[in-house]
């Protein structure tokens, strides 16, 4: 009994550590919502003039027709861009990116991939991202920047001509935009799966601890 009481006091004395600060949680979920709107409306737009020999099933598109898809896409883009920009600025300014995502070393990634595949990758300390997480998160942030830049290039190919030049030409920007979307979808599948496998990480992303 005595030792239990001590433990209770200890818990009261040291409040549980915040794993994910509030700004990360808020921006993360806004981003997830905006991304899903962008992807579903983007599929609608893709279907109007497919780049490849397939279309996305109608049930998974937003907007009902091309015009509706475009309205959703160009509305959700503000949410995505403003939130993404705020996340990037805060991530750099607070040193979070440097602290949580770096360094990323080839040996570290190899080691953690091997550990993950043999189910030996621990998640005891949620405040430290392993190398697989670092690589995936840093990678998807870069992809997020690329998909916004290629989208802006296609939206304003005359006013933002230098952005088009960055990708080569207009049709290439379209392919870049598509492949970034594909990368985000692939990330999303793995990411959600892993979050469900380690529910306490999901909990931390929702309530912070």
């Amino acid at each position: 009994m005595a030792s239990l009481t001590v433990t209770d006091e200890q818990i009261r004395a040291t409040p549980a550590k915040v794993i994910q600060p509030a700004w990360v949680r808020v921006m993360h979920w806004i981003n997830a919502f905006a991304m899903i709107l962008m992807i579903l409306s983007g599929w609608q737009i893709y279907n109007a003039s497919p780049l490849f020999g397939f279309s996305f099933p109608r049930e998974y598109t937003l907007g009902g027709w091309l015009g509706g898809g475009l309205l959703w896409h160009f509305a959700a883009m503000w949410l995505l861009m403003i939130n993404g920009l705020a996340y990037l600025v805060t991530g750099f300014a607070t040193g979070r990116f440097a602290k949580k995502l770096l360094p990323i070393t080839a040996s570290g990634v190899l080691h953690d991939v091997r550990a993950a595949l043999t189910f030996k990758l621990g998640h005891d300390d949620l405040t430290v991202y392993n190398y697989v997480q670092r690589l995936l998160y840093a990678g998807i942030i870069v992809v997020g920047v690329l998909i916004v830049l290629s989208g802006l290039a296609m939206w304003k190919p005359v006013q933002l001509y230098y952005l088009v030049m960055l990708f080569g030409d207009y049709p290439t920007a379209r392919y870049v935009h598509f492949f970034c979307m594909a990368a985000i979808c692939a990330f999303l599948v793995i990411h959600v799966l892993l979050a469900l496998l380690v529910p306490k990480s999901l909990r931390a992303m929702i309530i912070g601890r």
Partner: protein, 260 residues
């Protein structure tokens, strides 16, 4: 407030209707913007009915108006659309409309006259021969369709701003509104700053040949700083006006500025 709950997309009758809407260019389409399968998917993903269709549609319209303003704000009248060498021209240049080529307007060039209306000093109509006398320039630019495809073409004609000056148009007016010979009356408004852009052209030739029927004979308005649907073909009249008169696609929900 029409609440919808499509828990299993695919069983709702409204979804069946949706399959036909791409070939149905009429006002009923407007209602599909926020409705149907789209919301089904969102409902499935989020587990709740987050978007009420009529309020979502209202929100989307407001954002689209906001996007018009943003685009007008970042529009630089001196920024030129990139031009390309003749070798870059897309062959064949695609024919694109909401009808087949067989149903495209077949205008008789001898009878045709360009009507000029609204805030202009000289409202005389112009025959094709008269228009052909005006100085012409050629541009090789990229046509970008709202659907996402694009193609490079060569267009020859008179800069619209020269013509507007010639007829004494009030260039402080907000729009030049074009009407076309299409049987459902295609029309489209062009904001004045885009109308005055140096590359905006009254086009009479494609690839140095008299504009063929497929590309808008007798006259097309080529605006390389706008999406294709804002480059009207088979033009029969232009009106300089301060009123927003809407447009064939704009009224159905395409963003009205749709500038590049």
């Amino acid at each position: 407030m029409a609440k919808r709950s499509f828990l299993i997309p695919g069983v709702d009758k409204r979804l069946l209707i949706k399959d036909s809407i791409k070939t149905m260019p009429d006002v009923t389409r407007r209602r599909f913007i926020a409705g149907g399968a789209s919301l089904g998917a969102l409902t499935l993903l989020t587990g709740c009915d987050v978007v009420d269709s009529s309020s979502a549609e209202e929100m989307l319209k407001q954002v689209s108006k906001f996007n018009d303003a943003v685009q007008a704000f970042i529009f630089n009248p001196d920024a030129l659309a990139p031009t390309f060498p003749e070798s870059a021209i897309t062959k064949p240049f695609p024919f694109n409309a909401y009808y087949d080529l067989d149903d495209a307007p077949d205008v008789d060039g001898k009878d045709w006259k360009l009507e000029v209306r609204g805030l202009v000093d000289n409202k005389k109509s112009w025959t094709l021969d008269e228009l052909y006398q005006l100085p012409q320039v050629t541009q090789v630019t990229r046509h970008i369709c709202v659907e996402g495809w694009s193609a490079i073409g060569s267009w020859t004609g008179t800069p619209l701003r020269d013509f507007l000056k010639l007829i004494g148009a009030d260039t402080r007016a907000k729009y030049v509104w074009f009407q076309c010979a299409d049987k459902d009356g295609y029309n489209s408004p062009l904001d004045m700053r885009s109308a005055l852009h140096p590359q905006t052209q009254m086009t009479f030739k494609y690839a140095n040949e008299i504009l063929p029927r497929a590309y808008g004979f007798p006259m097309k308005i080529r605006v390389p700083t706008k999406l294709g649907f804002k480059n009207p073909k088979y033009v029969v009249s232009m009106e300089v006006t301060n009123d927003y008169k809407g447009g064939y696609w704009e009224d159905q929900g395409y963003n009205s500025f749709s500038g590049s």
